[in-house]
């Protein structure tokens, strides 16, 4: 009996010390925000993660806010590793906010458990429909777009350009299916053909031959990364001269140089472009070039905006007061490099989506805005979100 009460006393003592330890940490960390950035820094998709990280860290450096502390880890584009990193960051690094994830499948693996543990998640890229509709969360914010948005804008642009018989293709995986669904949601003409290609496919000779034979008047394609580079080069060599339309992902600053002249003149849709005329964007483009010696990409602009969104909320509220911090994030009171930017009821952006054209400036291939595809555009899933 004596032993048992001694044990109980010891256990209580340990618990109390532990508890004081926690209170101590809270008091000490007042006003500080620790951010865990999980992004892709190695393997095939590393260019995107590096741009998001560089954009984010540039904003952090310019703000020079001593209360912002960032831990960065590489997810290697693997969902299991992203989940492990998120658990470690939440449990042992004690982060308040997670960010950085590029790919929708990784985001779906990490976000539900993160928000269930009461941590904020600010997405700098992926915006899967599941998180915009039924699976939305008060603690999840997307500072980029809902996955369908740029494709919807491409559909709207195709109507305006008078295309009536478009050939559409995308890889056979969830984001590819969302892309074609998004395009068809706005496109009013007929389809000359619809192809799902293999994810990671590098040879498009078979598809290009079908495009040639289909009698289409234009082509819409969503082939991110290396797939897009391969497609554009092979399309240019094939002698098929139909106009191409696509989302910005295949025409991003990081890969345009690898595509070269094959991309010239192609129309693509984007919520950002380096020639957008606003003060925040001019500061961003100049500072990014000065810091890293290259032109910023779409992904860098998203990383930069994500950091500024966070900094704007930090100025207004304490992260430990979740309701106040959420309200501060919802206000989105920061100067976005895209100009007007606000959140819809599901914490996804409402913003303009532009049409850009690939041009050559000196020796560098880049984009220039030629019009607005969709004004103040939200997403199709917001109504399903019950927060």
């Amino acid at each position: 009996m004596k032993l048992k009460s001694l044990m109980t006393a010891a256990a209580v003592a340990i618990l109390t010390t532990g508890a004081t330890g926690i209170t101590g940490a809270l008091a000490e960390g007042h006003g500080k925000v620790k951010v865990g950035m999980i992004t892709t820094l190695s393997g095939g998709g590393a260019g995107l993660g590096i741009d998001v990280r560089d954009g984010f860290m540039l904003a952090a450096k310019l703000a020079a806010n001593p209360d912002l502390d960032v831990v960065i880890e590489d997810d290697q584009r693997k969902p299991d590793i992203a989940v492990q990193l998120a658990d470690r960051m939440i449990q042992s690094d004690k982060v308040d906010v997670l960010t950085g994830i590029i790919w929708s499948n990784l985001e779906m693996a990490v976000v539900p458990s993160t928000t269930a543990q009461g941590k904020f998640f600010l997405s700098p890229n992926a915006g899967p429909s599941a998180l915009a509709g039924k699976g939305c969360s008060a603690l999840y914010f997307n500072a980029a777009w809902q996955n369908d948005n740029l494709h919807e804008a491409a559909g709207a642009y195709s109507n305006g350009a008078g295309f009536a018989k478009t050939f559409i293709l995308a890889p056979n995986y969830p984001a590819g299916k969302d892309a074609l669904t998004g395009f068809k949601r706005f496109y009013k003409g007929a389809l000359a053909g619809e192809i799902y290609t293999k994810l990671g496919q590098k040879d498009y000779s078979s598809e290009i031959a079908q495009i040639r034979a289909s009698g289409a008047d234009s082509v819409f394609f969503f082939l991110p990364g290396g797939m897009g580079i391969s497609f554009l080069k092979q399309y240019a060599a094939s002698g098929v001269k139909l106009p191409l339309v696509g989302p910005a992902f295949s025409f991003d600053q990081g890969i345009l140089q690898a595509v070269g002249a094959a991309a010239l003149g192609v129309k693509n849709t984007s919520q950002w472009s380096k020639d957008l005329d606003n003060a925040a964007n001019k500061t961003f483009v100049a500072a990014f070039q000065a810091e890293y010696g290259r032109l910023p990409s779409l992904y860098a602009s998203q990383g930069y905006d994500t950091a500024n969104l966070l900094l704007s909320a930090m100025a207004k509220a304490d992260v430990n007061d979740a309701a106040a911090f959420q309200a501060a994030l919802e206000a989105a009171d920061f100067a976005s490099v895209r100009g007007d930017f606000r959140f819809g009821p599901n914490h996804f952006p409402i913003q303009n989506i532009y049409v850009r054209e690939v041009i050559k400036e000196g020796d560098v291939f880049t984009n220039k805005i030629i019009g607005v595809a969709l004004k103040d555009h939200g997403d199709a899933y917001a109504a399903e979100c019950k927060m």
Partner: protein
Amino acid sequence: MSSLLLIEQVLNGLQFGVMLFLMAAGLTLIFGVMGLINLAHGSLFMVGAFAAAAVAGWTGSFLLALAASLAAAAVVGALVELVVIRRLYGRDHLDQVLATFALILIFSEGTRWIFGSFPLFLDVPKVLAGPVTLPGGIEYPLYRLTLIAIGLAVAAGLFMLISRTRIGIRIRAGESDREMIAALGVDISKLYTLVFALGAALAGFAGALVGAIQSVQVGMGEPVLILAFVVIVIGGIGSIKGALVGAILVGLTDTLGRFLLPLAFATFMEPSAATSAGSALASMLIYILMAAVLLVRPTGLFGSA
């Protein structure tokens, strides 16, 4: 569907096949002669493409770029053989897989360290750019036709090398009885380095040729490596003839499958379901082909038991 479109697709399949052959030939030689499973073969494909892109960037010459891809991949291959692979011949296949998998990681991160994370630019030379009109009115990219010609020429050259030259005799001897040719006084370790460098050079050459119409980026070799393994399993391990037949079979099956299956499904399904079912089955088709070949001939088409 017109017959012209079908002929064009057959050409596409052929071109894909001969490029696969360049990869598979090296892999099957290395496996056949040395009994080594080399997962890092895809990295040599990447080394060739990056060397070509770098040299084309400096000099603007595609021919120099091709020469550089051959040289760089052969030198890297020989170094890897001398430093790492040499220690693995006597070991278990699992050890070889582990060590060469480590090589993939080292090559990928090393390439990123040197060239950065963004894809490089490598374009088709001006003289070969654009389409030509073939008899019958098919417009076909000239560069792809050139690839078919180069691939078939390399295949012919390799047959001559293996069947008519002294080195070829030694390679074949090494394949059938390693101890015996060592006992006959052939410097087996030098032969191994040579075969490894030759296989590496072929992979690097393929990387440069294909890099011009695809993207030159870190990790580009691994998808091709998987296909090359399928090719040598179908063709029979160690057989160059098997690698050629297997490669063309895989190239044609994959290209025609991607094109014909959705069409075939559309005859009895609604279009969008036919597209997804057809493309899903098309991506499995070469594996189904491999399984079917192995059922009938467990050692592959030209493999010896």
